[in-house]
Subunit: 377 residues, 2 copies
Amino acid sequence: MATQRILDFLATRRPNGPCLVVDLDVVRDNFRAFEKALPDSRIYYAVKANPAPEILRLLAAMGSSFDTASVAEVEMAMDAGAPADRISFGNTIKKERDIARAYQLGIRLYAVDCVEEVEKIARAAPGSRVFCRVLTDGEGAEWPLSRKFGCVPAMAVDVLRHAKALGLDAYGVSFHVGSQQTDLTAWDRALGDAKKVFATLAEEGIVLKMVNMGGGFPTRYLKDVPAAQAYGRAIFSALRKHFGNALPETIIEPGRGMVGNAGVIKSEVVLISKKADNDNVRWVFLDIGKFGGLAETMDEAIRYPIVTRHDGSETAPCVLAGPTCDSADVLYEKTPYPLPLSLTIGDEVLIEGTGAYTTTYSAVAFNGFEPLRSYVI
Amino acid sequence: MATQRILDFLATRRPNGPCLVVDLDVVRDNFRAFEKALPDSRIYYAVKANPAPEILRLLAAMGSSFDTASVAEVEMAMDAGAPADRISFGNTIKKERDIARAYQLGIRLYAVDCVEEVEKIARAAPGSRVFCRVLTDGEGAEWPLSRKFGCVPAMAVDVLRHAKALGLDAYGVSFHVGSQQTDLTAWDRALGDAKKVFATLAEEGIVLKMVNMGGGFPTRYLKDVPAAQAYGRAIFSALRKHFGNALPETIIEPGRGMVGNAGVIKSEVVLISKKADNDNVRWVFLDIGKFGGLAETMDEAIRYPIVTRHDGSETAPCVLAGPTCDSADVLYEKTPYPLPLSLTIGDEVLIEGTGAYTTTYSAVAFNGFEPLRSYVI
């Protein structure tokens, strides 16, 4: 996944310290793959995955819409050239004064998952479109979501009814099947729930128009176009099954799927050591860890591919850890990571698939280490 | 723990958004309590706990030494007025060029836990003092340490012997009993291990001089001076027991113990909702979460006291969560947090005991939210 452009950049520029390099060509390909796989859906890029201005400008120019989590992200998307009608304020947790500010900026599409949030929007963004997030079971996802966002479908009916009563446009339903979802039936179940909300409200004369299918598209399928299209077909047939000929507008919100495989982190081996002479596991310490951008290694959830100049030679299991004085700054320990025996202190390593959720997760200055630098090429 | 000075500051200044307020008077009291409890130990404040310049300047003026984790922290301590001979480069994981830079700045005291690190120091900081960290079992600590730092005592002997052979000053041994350690026998066991390293090397004519007892002092004992002194007495008698009349120099490295109870985070309730009509647990969303500074709620390890204007009225269990679109941004869920039923959206809450490990853990801009602001008064 380290493209030739990334390798050339690193070889030529030789940046000091850990850094992320993102190849815009890969982002461009990913956007086109999503367009091709789901030609009838509008793509709202999840800005939180990587808000680098170069990425936002490219996607804005390609016609992408944007899913934002805060007023700052709304402003970033607008600065990148996205008009307000291509921006969704997708966070279900918003201060009323932030809603007012987004409304002032022209934003007319808001996520909700409870009556209390509807009331804020009715006051601060009158007449806007709202969609209500419903809880899904998250089965089959590599990173199942907690119950933090969404409400049960029966409550979504109340929420959208209340929105209508307060003069808002009860626009649709959203769900998120969980990150890196590989079980295609997850979309089928969630779309079935969405349809029930549509049907119940239709009986009261409230006609919903949109289903926001969120993110969760597994990165690895993007490289494999037939598989991406198989995803698209499965989702389309679930839509057909539940909605028949009255297909709603659909939105997708890829984040990791759009930029994850476009980025590579360059790091350096700071130390290789053992804790006792007879230990058979070496400790390898990198100059980046959990607090420098690799927060998603939490509970060893995401296992990034690591490339070294010794690949192909004999390997042995290592505990991989970051450079801070924090004992929690360990990346892989429960399942040690096989690395070449010939790896030495000072070697560069490439951590692949790190284009999403790295720069923004980086701590401000933990242990005095500066935040992860990023180059978008 | 919200002192009158902090309450007055918040009432007068009314800062917008979440922020940390640190009362320097409490830091001053904590420093004096440590001096009193362990009069024969030198205090090295762990800069990583909170590197605010005002805190470093106060402690430098009071005569504190500083435990640093990076060149940036060395520079911060020096900028605050600490001379180089009061600074320890306490991270066992250092790039050789960072050691060289610290040496250039005058730093002559370094932590190691393996032969490989000793070799870097011999090359980049010739003649310096090194102390070797030994592993402890961490039993009895609220936040037990992983095996990330230190080596077994037998290996520490090799490491220090190697240091001596390379012309370094084999200066001593360090350990860390784990954060918030309440079991006084933990120090006794660790000091016993340290003594063995001293004794083995003495037989070879290598005379160690110092024991670095690290941090781990529980915050809550500081308010209670007799208890702090009981701690001091227990440690002193363990020193006596193992070292007899040949007491070594000792160092302590309080971080959380120095600043934890000096800080309060002011936050705002953004949303209170349920996921279903029949849920008996409410979700309370604050404008600060795991990525805005409260990273230590990871696995619900640290449970901060939360103060509201409704305290004393009837409470009910709540799931407490942060404001980002990240499903992992939940503070307390496995053990719900009791909060007043009359708590409402827009209410201010005070999160106490947050002076340590908050500002620096804060993410750069996750979801577009700015890092935790801090006021030191």
